[in-house]
Symmetry: D2
Subunit: 344 residues, 4 copies
């Protein structure tokens, strides 16, 4: 079988993980990654021995790379010429400009959450609307919070039917290593409704969603509480049964040692996962409570890596590698070893 050839634009927090994710897909080939400057991520790529070829985007100063001895395989257009599809994780707004090149070159592309929806033909989630992405040229992935949130809502929706959700996002404000943004001893409000609720309605238009987002001064993983109204009464046992079956949801408890978002990061590090990444969202069994006919629960979103599986799903849809979501997500899960922890 010919492998689908994939390039990555922007080798930052998301781009590095996209490249690693593609490299693990046995039916895809990572052609190379493109970036602008010898950042720490690029220096680390070099120190690791250049497992991925590096291309330079417009505006890059090749002399800087030469001075450091970092080999460069070509420019951005050369990368694009070699691929079937680009994963664009450039800084917000750059993806829209890159799209002009992708269109000119006739390659497909998947954009990350930072771009406007209008950049893409479809706003995409591997579980909730795979079929909408099939064969499309330009997809936009949901953001990290929305991706994880939809996993859990779609899971309940498929099992029991969901009418309405009200969410509270307790957002980590910066990634580990970020120095360009941060918050010190302060919680910060966003105006409601938060965009993740609005985005959920775009992907799942049959559900009414709203919510409030509060930024918190931590770096490892958002926590979202969800109040979900079912078409029928959903008990704690029913919710738990559905969540336990989902490959990309890891059901845990406080008593096991998962005391909060930092426990997930520690656990992922102890697992030896590269960068301490985790593809699954966490869901606390002991957070699930019934509120009248509604069900309430809390999930943990590993913001740096949660969108990687759904982006792999997106490649599968756009390039028609699988024609239904169930098969596609199963392939992605297999290659990323997602779900190996599931109770038999």
């Amino acid at each position: 079988m010919t492998k689908v050839r994939v390039g990555v634009a922007g080798y930052g927090t998301i781009g590095q993980r996209l490249a690693d994710g593609v490299a693990l897909q046995e039916d895809m080939e990572l052609v190379g990654v493109a970036d602008l400057a010898p950042t720490l991520a690029i220096r680390a790529l070099y120190e690791k021995g250049m497992p991925y070829d590096l291309y330079l985007v417009d505006g890059a100063d090749k002399a800087q790379f030469d001075a450091l001895g970092i080999p460069v395989s070509g420019d951005f257009e050369e990368l694009i010429d070699k691929v079937d599809i680009m994963l664009d994780s450039s800084p917000g707004g750059v993806g829209a400009k890159n799209k002009e090149i992708y269109e000119k070159k006739g390659v497909k592309a998947i954009f990350q959450g930072g771009e406007k929806n209008s950049v893409a033909d479809v706003f995409f989630h591997g579980y909730a609307n795979y079929e909408k992405g099939i064969g499309k040229d330009y997809l936009k992935l949901t953001s990290c919070n929305t991706t994880g949130l939809i996993r859990s809502v779609d899971c309940l929706d498929k099992a029991y039917g969901i009418e309405k959700v009200a969410i509270t996002i307790i957002r980590r404000v910066a990634d580990p290593g970020d120095y360009h943004r941060g918050l010190t001893n302060a919680l910060q409000m966003d105006k409601a409704p938060t965009h993740q609720a609005v985005d959920l309605m775009t992907i799942m238009p049959h559900i009414n969603a709203t919510g409030i987002l509060v930024h918190t001064p931590v770096t490892h993983g958002h926590i979202i509480t969800v109040v979900a109204t079912g078409k029928q009464k959903i008990t704690k046992e029913m919710a738990l049964e559905a969540f336990e079956k989902h490959p990309r949801i890891r059901v845990v408890s406080i008593d096991e040692g998962f005391k909060g978002n930092a426990s997930f990061f520690k656990y992922a590090r102890d697992l030896g996962n590269s960068r301490g990444d985790m593809y699954e969202i966490g869901l606390w069994e002991d957070s699930i409570v019934e509120s009248g006919n509604d069900i309430m629960y809390a999930i943990n979103i590993p913001q740096e890596s949660v969108t990687i599986p759904e982006t792999m799903d997106g490649i599968r849809a756009a390039c028609k590698m699988q024609l239904n979501g169930e098969e596609a997500t199963a392939k992605t899960n297999e290659y990323l070893k997602i779900g190996r922890f599931k109770k038999k």
Copy 2:
């Protein structure tokens, strides 16, 4: 009129503020405060010139106070002999022991949230169940989060009727200056349902309440999101109208500069409020959203001082100073200058 004579046991974070609060009530007399050791709070009391008389509880080493020149007015029982009612803000569990002395001496007492409900005849909130406290000997105040939460829920309930609430508490983990507890770069889960929801149902048994609590590494003010189901559809305008009228709720917006919990603390400091305290809860106008027939909003709880007004209300109830809650809370508000900021 004879003033009600009040003593304070435990001159810590809450005790200091209770003493200041009583001192402002023109129909009460602060007889003195009692503590165990020359803490920073006691040293500050001394440096300020001993505005309040100090008594020592059992186990205190008077020599330590003498060495520092801090005048002592007597022991704990001597204080109790001079008062009508004690406000007990001792560390959790000590209040229950102190109660034996209060019973022996025949004085009333109000305990803070750290004690078990069984310590008191009534679990009390100035707005939600004033009448239950009238003439009772032992009251227990709701905790800071519950006090503020109930203000907002009772406000909507009185105006429109509330059936159910689902809350998410984004809890500040320590007070400014705390070194005995803290959290670093981590959010921490509590098992659901959180006790504040359970407590709300004790005070307001006609409402179904549940919720999830997440600890965050900040010091200034909890934030709670509330999803409230009305007996009728409550619109944003209806909610806002009710909140605007409540003297102990300060309606603000992000655009005015109230960006989060730290803005309230800054504002209280800029107001020149002693210790930067704030008696009102904050409520963000731009957090209010409708979720189907439910209404959702976010409030800010100034954890160090929010229970002071309701404790003053408690004195009024226990000592039968006023025989209905409306008059009592109005008196408290007048003396604490609460509501002066309200739009006319």
Copy 3:
């Protein structure tokens, strides 16, 4: 005696405290404060009943103030016309522009640390070089860290002679309530030598100084460690003796309860100081250690308020209110009640 008439440009973190400081000086008159927009600080001024008259700087939209009912006393030039000296705590760079107006109007001015040294005739510290500021038109105050650092170094220098200092500044990264800057779970390096060491050498040219600054994600008070080389061996006892005598240095110990920077803020709040401000630096007795012939110690810098006394000294120098530093600092200390805590 005619009082010196003072205006304040920029009613932010420093400007508010300068205004309060001037208002306490019985030989000065606070004419008014000037600002640009109805910030939280201005809204608090209004809610307090306008204890200070407000003037609007160029670019302000008076309609915004009118809509809120905030009375405006005039424009910036009108304020300047009424004063002898302006305290300029505008955002960095604005002071240099304002200086053109001050020069045109012939009023003196004192600039805060954010401006370039070239804006002023003299880089000023009340204890270390008072005489240089006498009668000068334009002074620039040392920054908060430098102000506190110099207090301690000058104190040792006057007592025993200092040749050299090497400092480590553990800097709080934001003020309480700041949302425009912050750091989350990260220490951040500045390039060495840090400017505070360079500034110290400008004020005290006979001392060799260098140092390293590290930003930390806290809001209450910088901590500086100082390694000082004396002209003679300085023992711990000698250092302590000198520090104990200095009115603007508060000698404390961990055992008393001063566990870190947050303890000072707590203590200042408990003292009832407006905004929890502290004019004195803290110095830990149990941090003082001898390193061969050098002496090492740690101080706490209350960044929001520490420069207020030295700015009052600056007014005294520029306006020739006192002709030597000892008398001037004594006057400032008297009106600000600095030193009242000193052991007799």
Copy 4:
């Protein structure tokens, strides 16, 4: 060649990394690890497929492990019977008890920094006193800060001679994932002199050392500033030359992107290092400044992993695998791939 057989007691933050480190030494065999309860670290070991055999220490409840399906290879004494040397990273104080078993069984042991010095024959550092550990039965490793500090001081001392150091430790207060300790918006002082300075003098008795330690609310890496007095004047160039040559010191600059401790953690994650660990200390080229005849600089200590190489050195010394430090540290470095990043 017969491999030295090694066991690890305590599979926590340090124990996990010791096990990984031993597993990489081609002349050692990791026999197994011992622990008490199915912590997250043990659960991760299981989810990874038990790369290391697990033994249970006294007091463990085997039923808990059985219930989770985690295979157990035996009890603590069975592990000890199979090894030549134990690495004891039990909680502080437990190591001293374990020593009785080690003595009974006649196996050597290396204790981590949490134990008292008296537990061991020698207080050990691979570079500074390797020869003292040769053939000894019980070594105690220096703590993480002391280990990293000594690397840098020994490096200068060997090159130029050092007489005196004065250090400021800006300590991270908790590891990522810690929920049992933490600090929120506060810097915390320890009494001076800090134990790391005292420990340095134990290892390097010809140097006079003192210092101050301040805890900060971050999780990734301590930063230490060092003021070092040479036997001769040490210029920045001289210091840099020595640091550049040291395999366990990584010289970096702010301009490259190493903005603080969080940058090192990010870089180690991007390198794909297991758990984001880093064996080298970081040293900022742009922190090095001359202070008269002294030299001042700042280093970054990756607290979770920095002691691993020196512990490997300790095994080499205790088991007489190499008879001089240069050969031993070279072997350790080779197997841990330390120094691969060094400029040629």
